[in-house]
């Protein structure tokens, strides 16, 4: 995987999160992985086509998902990860992907993104690549979001 393709996703996260109420997102770890990822509770997968193909997965536990949804909705209490909270997380994934797509365009790569696929459940395995892929651990005020990235240029 081309490491240059990862920055547009990190940049998007750093740019979008402050706009929705997380002033200081931090990148805590970056590592290569070849085993399947394991769901922490809430998993959103977004696919990319055209000049770059692949999948990006946002993986977080349900508490974090509720915390993000609540922050996005101006602090409205979110006790259940219900339809509204799910919508908020999908919307966030859309914003992150669209922002990443814009960053990729600036690198000369035209891409299209699929609708986000939201999956709930703990401990299921997630396979997005035949080989190695990159995982970035992000910290949002004590809450952890993993971004798993398996993308490649489409020649």
């Amino acid at each position: 995987m081309d490491a240059k393709l990862v920055n547009p996703f990190i940049d998007a996260f750093m740019a979008v999160m402050p706009q929705i109420g997380f002033p200081t997102p931090k990148r805590t770890k970056v590592y290569l992985q070849d085993k399947n990822a394991i769901s922490a509770g809430v998993v959103v997968m977004v696919g990319f086509t055209k000049q770059m193909r692949g999948n990006v997965v946002y993986n977080m536990d349900e508490d974090t998902a509720k915390f993000i949804a609540s922050t996005m909705m101006m602090g409205m209490p979110v006790s259940e990860f219900d339809a509204m909270a799910q919508s908020a997380i999908c919307e966030l994934s859309n914003m992150l992907s669209a922002n990443s797509a814009t960053n990729l365009t600036q690198m000369g790569l035209e891409v299209d993104i699929s609708t986000p696929n939201l999956t709930i459940g703990q401990g299921f395995s997630i396979k997005i690549s035949e080989g190695q892929y990159l995982t970035i651990e992000m910290d949002l005020g004590g809450h952890k979001v993993d971004i798993a990235i398996a993308v490649d240029r489409n020649n």
Binding site: N36, S39, V43, M45, V46, G47, F48, T49, K50, R53, G54, N55, V57, A83, Q86, S87, C90, D112, I113, S114, T115, N117, L118, T119, I120, G121, G123, F124, S125, I126, K127, I128, A150
Partner: protein, 284 residues
């Protein structure tokens, strides 16, 4: 449902008759047939059809020019071009004058109906349009895929899926669809079915968990890949693409699909149900 009025523009009587025959058993009603552009304009004004099928070669003009003139009378006119030749140049010029879909002769009944349904969305609901135009194409690719891979004949069912969650206990292969409409297709089956399926597919049951997953993933790629190719074949102006698969495996998995209209396709076999849930973004 109210009949949808169609006008056929084609210089060949044979072509007009074939097309009229295709439509005779459907909800579309042929209200006028024009043999050239001037006829087409007169008949359009007289009958005000919901949709026009347009040939490229006309004795007094061509299909693009004729479409341009019709759209000058009625900017909302819905036109599908049906011509013997089709290239990107023709499609580009046709789109410029507002032609909504492009089909190549000979057209099958399904092709023409799919194209007409898509174009006359004001007459049919969004759900009916998605069902007729897209979901049904995936029913065909599911049937074909299973036959090609396993030699088993199935008759998949199709239903609008209105439950809040799609529950998966086993495996789900998620493939994103980009273009118009945007969406995703999830091929899924139970733990037992995935074992039975991969054993039948590969001719052995001495398989690792990874090999079983790979077999299902490959099946999903084939089924959804064929479906998307068929959509692109029917709607010549579409460029639907598929993302690489993402595969999830486990128990008690719930897939939520806010803001998607989804359909469930079920192929029942001796070794279990192979299901596809295909969903499209609303507002497309």
């Amino acid at each position: 449902m109210e009949k949808v009025k169609v006008m056929i523009v084609d210089d060949s009587k044979v072509s007009r008759t074939i097309l009229a025959n295709h439509l005779s058993r459907t909800n579309f009603e042929v209200v006028a047939m024009a043999k050239d552009a001037s006829d087409a304009l007169l008949l359009y004004k007289e009958h005000n059809p919901d949709i026009v099928t347009m040939d490229m070669n006309l004795p007094d003009s061509d299909g693009i020019e004729c479409s341009r003139r019709i759209r000058a009378i009625d900017p909302e006119a819905k036109i599908v071009m049906i011509s013997a030749m089709r290239d990107t140049n023709l499609v580009a010029r046709g789109k410029e004058v507002g032609i909504g879909a492009f089909l190549q002769k000979p057209v099958s009944t399904n092709e023409i109906i799919d194209a007409l349904m898509t174009l006359c969305q004001k007459k049919v609901s969004q759900v009916a349009m998605l069902r007729e135009s897209y979901a049904k194409i995936f029913v065909h690719s599911l049937r074909q895929g299973i036959f090609e891979m396993l030699g088993v004949r199935v008759d998949p069912t199709l239903e609008l899926y209105e439950k809040k969650y799609l529950d998966v206990n086993g495996i789900a292969v998620i493939i994103g669809l980009t273009g118009t409409p945007n969406g995703r297709a999830i091929t899924y089956m139970s733990k037992d079915t995935m074992k039975n399926y991969s054993a039948k597919m590969l001719g052995t049951d001495d398989l690792t968990e990874d090999e079983i997953q790979d077999a299902v993933e490959e099946a999903a790629n084939i089924i959804i890949g064929h479906g998307v190719s068929n959509v692109n074949d029917v709607f010549k102006d579409k460029e639907l693409r598929i993302t690489p698969p993402g595969t999830i495996c486990g128990a008690g998995i719930r897939v939520a699909s806010p803001k998607l209209t989804t359909f469930k396709l079920t192929a029942s076999t001796d070794f279990g149900d192979i299901c596809v849930n295909v969903g499209f973004a609303e507002g497309e």
